[in-house]
């Protein structure tokens, strides 16, 4: 694949990455690393995955120009000239997560694994993994924080319909990080037969690279599409960052082009100053969580803190190690949007473009105006921006209705 990776040595992105896991898992990570090289990199595997992505996922996803939204954000077109949305919401299952889940499950099957487990926050990765397992006829268990089971009920139902077993996790903050702990416990117990399908570009080596590789289809397509539409690369590429898989997928298409600015938007929850947020790169520090060295939210004693975001998919106190490197090397910039800003953006996008975005994706929309201002100042003319619309918002209807509509308009006749 023609992607530029900043990894200087396998598993490391500058000083970030590595493998901080139990000794028991090291041979399984070695096995997966070898399979990434010997199976996933073959022309045969790539062709099989390409066919699946085309015929089953519906790729390539469109690049939609969002002129009404651009006008709403910048009526005079002084800073935002053109806005393009990479429509991962139109993937089968409604988000970019299927790109990675299909790739990993296909790889696991070729490795002879007979059982798949995964963690999920918003439920999109869980649904994607359950879908891939249904397609390949593999048993599947999904770990999900009990709090997320409550707030993402439609996705829990979907996973169960797909034949997956959903295991609510009641420990800790009962969200994504605790689901990941529980999935690690399962994996270390059943490592001989089971593949752990990590959904974000995080975790121990080789996961960050494996997930980035499967998600880089977003950036590769977006790059070709924007060149075809505008004749040049965009001034900026923008995506939301929880663990960071859709962002790294988009960024991989533009990493080697230094004049394409990369922006990641994190979840500021109730505001970074409130302490109730998930803005790991903005307000965290370097630490070790879930197998890799990266930025984490933790206290002075090294205890991981609970993240907060209205969006379950961003509600995570860690972030993938490549993002930590892109931040410290200055290649990408990371900003954050609050719950309220994201909700307002969800409403604006829906009403101007007829697209209901996931709450995760609503965060970069909320910062588009500020990012366009900065980019336009930088380049000395109004900017062209590509934003990764990572998923659709149907799963968030209950939250959106509760927060955006008056009671009499929330449902019924």
């Amino acid at each position: 694949m023609a992607v530029v990776s900043p990894a200087q040595e396998p598993g490391w992105y500058g000083p970030f990455g590595g493998r901080f896991v139990s000794e028991t898992l090291i041979p399984a990570l070695d096995e997966l690393t070898a399979a990434t090289r010997e199976i996933a990199a073959t022309e045969e595997f790539e062709a099989e995955l390409r066919t699946l992505l085309a015929d089953y996922v519906g790729r390539p996803t469109p690049l939609s120009e969002a002129s009404r939204l651009a006008r709403a954000i910048d009526p005079d077109r002084k800073t935002l000239l053109r806005l393009f949305l990479k429509r991962e919401d139109l993937c089968h299952t409604g988000a970019h997560k299927i790109n990675n889940a299909l790739g990993q499950v296909l790889l696991a099957r070729k490795m002879g694994k007979t059982r798949i487990i995964a963690e999920t926050g918003a439920g999109q990765h869980g649904v994607a993994t359950a879908t891939a397992c249904a397609l390949f006829g593999l048993p599947c268990e999904i770990y999900m924080g009990a709090e997320d089971v409550r707030r993402q009920a439609p996705n829990v139902g979907r996973m169960r319909l797909l034949g997956a077993k959903v295991v609510p996790v009641d420990s800790g903050s009962r969200t994504l990080k605790d689901a990941m702990n529980e999935a690690l416990r399962d994996w270390v117990t059943n490592v001989a037969t089971t593949h752990y399908c990590i959904g974000s570009a995080a975790g121990p080596h080789p996961y960050p690279e494996l997930v980035a590789r499967f998600q880089s289809v977003i950036g590769e397509e977006a790059r070709a599409q924007i060149l075809e539409r505008t004749g040049r690369l965009p001034d900026a590429a923008v995506a939301c960052v929880g663990g960071g898989s859709n962002a790294i997928g988009l960024f991989r298409g533009f990493l080697s082009a230094d004049d394409v600015r990369l922006y990641g938007v994190e979840a500021a929850g109730h505001g970074v100053a409130s302490g109730r947020h998930a803005a790991t790169l903005t307000a965290g520090r370097v630490g070790v969580l879930h197998g890799s060295k990266s930025y984490v939210l933790c206290d002075d004693g090294g205890q991981i803190q609970e993240a907060h975001s209205i969006s379950a998919g961003l509600d995570y106190p860690g972030v993938g190690p490549e993002h930590a490197w892109l931040k410290t090397s200055g290649r990408a910039r990371y900003v954050s949007a609050t719950d309220d800003e994201a909700l307002a953006a969800a409403s604006l996008v829906t009403r101007t473009e007829g697209i209901l975005p996931a709450l995760e994706t609503s965060h970069p929309f909320a910062k588009l105006g500020a990012i366009a201002d900065e980019v336009a100042r930088d380049v000395g003319r109004p900017a062209t921006i590509v934003l990764c619309l990572s998923g659709r918002g149907d799963k968030d209807l209950e939250t959106l209705l509760g927060r955006l509509l008056p009671p009499e308009e929330r449902g019924g006749s």
Partner: protein, 269 residues
């Protein structure tokens, strides 16, 4: 020789096995942990593992995860673990291993962490999520303060990795090796066949690394301890001690429960 090496040598000379006991510091509170740790030593534990609670104990089962949550809920963590270690050291010469996860040590800084841990009278560190490949910064800092770093070997570990661990022991203090009896998390009950196989494996690890090798995970009774100890140099018991502490309604009950268990274990190995 250090305290840990002495302890192994003493038991070996008696043709008995080294008993290592774990407890989660701060559960139910730090002062109780001091009494409970000293009680373990008095009943015959040769090495104490003082567990530093961590928010995300992904290698541990439910018992230690619950204990960690309780300890953290009362303000526990690395600072309290060091306070408890100092207090135990002030009253006993029993070898102490600080057992935990990497982030609390990493955030403090490897050098400063090693200095503070050594100053508290701890003899070695055991960090479950720090495999040998990533261990050099902490290993070097620990060595400069006279602290050992205990490596883990699992049933999945290939012989060439065991050899690497053996080679590390020539350059850095490796007081013993911890053999994980099963692929899994702490807190289970190991089947006899599993523990017997682990005991035989531990003997092979000892030959390859030239270090005493103990078996841990899944040892919750004196009967299982005896099976696991057969060919190994010792056994580690953790979750069952934590469960005894959890079950006690009062400090006296907790002490009595732990004393009874350690006495039985001591009798078996």
């Amino acid at each position: 020789m250090g305290r840990i090496e002495d302890a192994f040598a003493r038991r070996a000379a008696e043709r008995r096995k080294t008993l290592v006991t774990y407890l989660c510091v701060g559960d139910p509170d730090g002062d109780a942990s001091i009494d409970l740790a000293l009680a373990c030593a008095e009943e015959g534990a040769d090495v104490l593992e003082l567990g530093c609670p961590f928010s995300d104990p992904s290698a541990d089962g439910a018992a230690i995860a619950r204990a960690s949550q309780r300890a953290l809920g009362r303000g526990g963590g690395l600072a309290e673990t060091l306070r408890v270690a100092s207090a135990v050291r002030a009253r006993s010469d029993v070898p102490i291993v600080l057992f935990g996860y990497y982030n609390p040590l990493f955030v403090r800084g490897e050098e400063e962490a090693a200095r503070a841990v050594a100053a508290a009278g701890v003899d070695a560190l055991l960090v479950v999520d720090l495999p040998v490949d990533e261990s050099m910064p902490l290993r070097a800092a620990a060595a400069s303060h006279g602290l050992g770093l205990v490596p883990l070997v699992a049933p999945t570990t290939l012989p060439e990795r065991v050899a690497r661990i053996g080679a590390l022991g020539e350059r850095f203090p490796v007081p013993f090796v911890y053999y994980v009896s099963m692929t899994g998390i702490t807190g289970g009950a190991g089947a006899s066949a599993v523990l017997a196989r682990a005991s035989a494996e531990a003997a092979r690890v000892r030959s390859a690394t030239k270090r005493p090798t103990v078996v841990g995970f899944g040892i919750d009774s004196h009967a299982r301890a005896r099976v696991a100890a057969e060919s190994a140099d010792g056994v580690v018991v953790g979750s069952e001690i934590v469960r005894r502490i959890e079950r006690g309604a009062t400090h006296a009950e907790r002490l009595a429960g732990v004393r009874e268990l350690v006495r039985e274990l001591r009798g078996a190995v």
